[in-house]
């Protein structure tokens, strides 16, 4: 009997401390068979199990173009995420998925891409950004506006530096509140987005972050001339099953887990 609730076993290969409360976990599926079955696209998510504690939903922050590892970035916030933060390299966890729809990587071909992220919301965008970088010829210019509360809350710092040095890739990093020796931009993401003013011509915007940020980013984008159809967002909602059954993430006719998370 196939059991839709059974996770694959995965080993933690490496843990990267991103910020004081975010860690990125590099995972490798234990069974080669499950490795073959676990085919994902940027934007999809997985259910991450810790023995005896429970299961939580995380987007896959890695790209399928780099199949060596699966990566999830986890912000310590509740019971399961706290337990995940206590894991060590070499520990075994459970992974179920991939679930949900994905970024329309085919339709995005030839377009300029504007990424707007806030906090840990950069994780799903990172999957697509690295996917695009690995298929560089297929896509136009990239513009990234990324912000966090403080400089200490910025994730993927090393990658942000690398991206900044990449040709045809404009990065604009900002923080809500300066701290330490921060010499960069200070200001809310939607405001900085307005200042950067990326062109809407032949462009698609992809945004992820706190709901309130998304709200103002969408407003700003439409003022910049982006049509609703050219704005993609990926949503978070309470999820338990990831299968369109448990009812947690239902909004109207939509189940975020099954019909999203990309909208």
């Amino acid at each position: 009997m196939t059991n839709i609730y059974t996770p694959y076993l995965a080993k933690i290969k490496k843990i990267i401390k991103e910020t004081h409360d975010v860690k990125t976990f590099q995972l490798e599926l234990v069974n080669p068979e499950s490795k073959k079955k676990f085919n994902y696209q940027p934007g999809q998510f997985a259910e991450f199990s810790v023995f005896g504690v429970g299961e939580s939903t995380f987007c896959l922050a890695s790209t399928p173009t780099r199949p060596e590892v699966l990566e999830c970035s986890v912000k310590k916030a509740g019971k399961v995420t706290s337990a995940i933060h206590e894991l060590w390299e070499g520990d075994t966890v459970g992974i179920r998925g991939p679930y949900g729809n994905n970024f329309p990587v085919k339709q995005l071909k030839g377009k300029n891409l504007v990424f707007v992220g806030g906090g840990i919301g950069l994780a799903p965008l990172r999957s697509l950004i690295n996917f695009v970088l690995d298929n560089r010829g297929d896509y136009g210019n990239i513009c990234l506006v990324y912000g966090a509360r403080t400089p200490g809350d910025l994730v993927y710092k090393k990658e942000l530096e690398d991206w900044d040095k990449t040709p045809d890739f404009a990065t604009h990093i900002t923080v809500d509140k300066s701290a330490g020796n921060w010499k960069g931009t200070v200001g809310f993401v939607p405001v900085i987005l307005g200042e950067v003013a990326p062109g809407a011509e032949n462009a698609v915007a992809i945004t992820c972050g706190p709901p309130i940020m998304i709200k103002f980013v969408v407003k700003e984008l439409s003022e910049l001339g982006f049509k609703a159809a050219d704005i993609i967002t990926t949503l978070e909602m309470k999820m338990k099953c990831g299968l369109g059954k448990c009812g947690r993430c239902n909004i109207g006719k939509v189940y975020v887990c099954k019909d999203g998370p990309v909208f």
Binding site: E55, G78, M237, K238, C241, G244, R248, G252
Partner: protein, 351 residues
């Protein structure tokens, strides 16, 4: 569909013959004027004139607490040891409850098939029975007062005998196990069936107009009605627990005392519970009771319609029966529609 008659005199031997098909359950009286599907040994134990059982049939296939696997820190995941293949016969199921299972089948199928539900479903046999509506039933409005599929046999009471519809091959096997007990349908039985059907039609007291209800719910999305309803509702979740189509669940891990082994459980849940849409970190997408009650109505009467083409409500009346705040779904839907008189109108008898 093959149609026969079964004289009530033959009901007992027929019931005995069913025992070879599986463990038999049927409605029995439990407490005062309350009924429950329980294991039944003889036909005389059955309370076939029951109106509704406390819990619907989901308790058999969609158990309140269903282990989905065991885990062991050292060896990983093992399936839950449980006999999902046990054959059971449910005797005396009303059309609304049969239709509710058809709805749960929709939810549990699709690209991800929940086999903890389906293996059990495939190993059950259903013998339906006709019923007369009481003051809470509005199944006719929901088109669930009649079961077209979802049963192996369906018995319609026509006085001294039952008209028997054979719904499946196994239903036919049940008949063929004791063929002498059944007779072909005759003119008199046919007439009695129609009389009974007409009598039943006249008995429905409650009615909901379903046409364009999803659209009206959109128009009334910001109505103050939801706030008022939120003030009345106690968020106890009783309506979800006893609803034959409510299927939302939680998934929890139970760790054994050895701190190494345990099981993961799929457990009944309710969208009315405060933490239903609360995410890690404390943000709650539906922190207000009003928004949770609204979600329950929207999901069942609007979202489900868009998704599966019909509401996830069968008009069984259980939620109205158990609500401690006396919230009545029929009344609420009439208020949303802006109707004053929600008693049955003559012209509404059959949509």
């Amino acid at each position: 569909m093959k149609v026969l008659t079964l004289s009530k005199k033959n009901a007992t031997p027929f019931f005995e013959a069913l025992k070879s098909f599986g463990k038999t359950y049927g409605p029995v009286e439990k407490g005062e004027k309350a009924y429950s599907f329980q294991p039944v040994e003889s036909f005389s134990q059955l309370a076939l004139d029951y109106k509704r059982t406390i819990l619907p049939l989901k308790k058999f296939f969609y158990k309140p607490c269903q282990p989905v696997f065991h885990f062991n820190k050292d060896s990983g995941y093992q399936p839950a040891e449980e006999d999902l293949e046990e054959k059971i016969v449910l005797f005396g199921v009303h059309p609304c409850d049969i239709n509710a299972l058809n709805i749960l089948d929709l939810v549990n199928s699709g690209p991800y098939v929940d086999n903890y539900y389906f293996v059990k479903r495939q190993n059950n046999l259903i013998i339906g029975i006709s019923c007369m509506p009481d003051e809470l039933c509005f199944c006719r409005s929901m088109s669930t007062d009649f079961a077209e599929t979802g049963f192996d046999l369906f018995l319609s009471d026509i006085g001294d005998s039952y008209v028997v519809r054979v719904g499946t091959g196994i239903g036919d096997d049940m008949v063929n196990a004791v063929p002498d007990l059944f007779s072909p349908i005759d003119e008199e039985s046919s007439r009695a069936y129609k009389d009974s059907s007409n009598e039943r039609s006249a008995m429905f007291q409650r009615y909901i107009e379903l046409s364009d209800l999803p659209e009206i719910m959109d128009l009334e999305f910001h109505s103050e009605l939801w706030e008022k309803l939120g003030e009345r509702c106690l968020a106890c979740g009783s309506c979800s627990m006893i609803c034959p189509t409510c299927n939302c669940y939680n998934i929890i891990d139970k760790l054994n005392l050895d701190q190494k082994t345990g099981e993961r459980i799929r457990q009944w849940d309710s969208c009315l519970f405060k933490d239903f849409a609360e995410v890690s970190g404390g943000h709650n997408f539906r922190s207000k009771r009003a928004s949770r009650v609204q979600q329950r109505y929207l999901h069942k009467q609007q979202g489900f319609v868009e998704q599966y083409g019909r509401p996830s409500c069968v008009g069984c009346g259980r939620c109205t029966m158990v609500c401690p705040a006396k919230i009545d779904i029929v009344e609420i839907l009439h208020t949303i529609r802006g109707e004053r008189n929600h008693r049955r109108r003559k012209s509404d008898r059959r949509r």
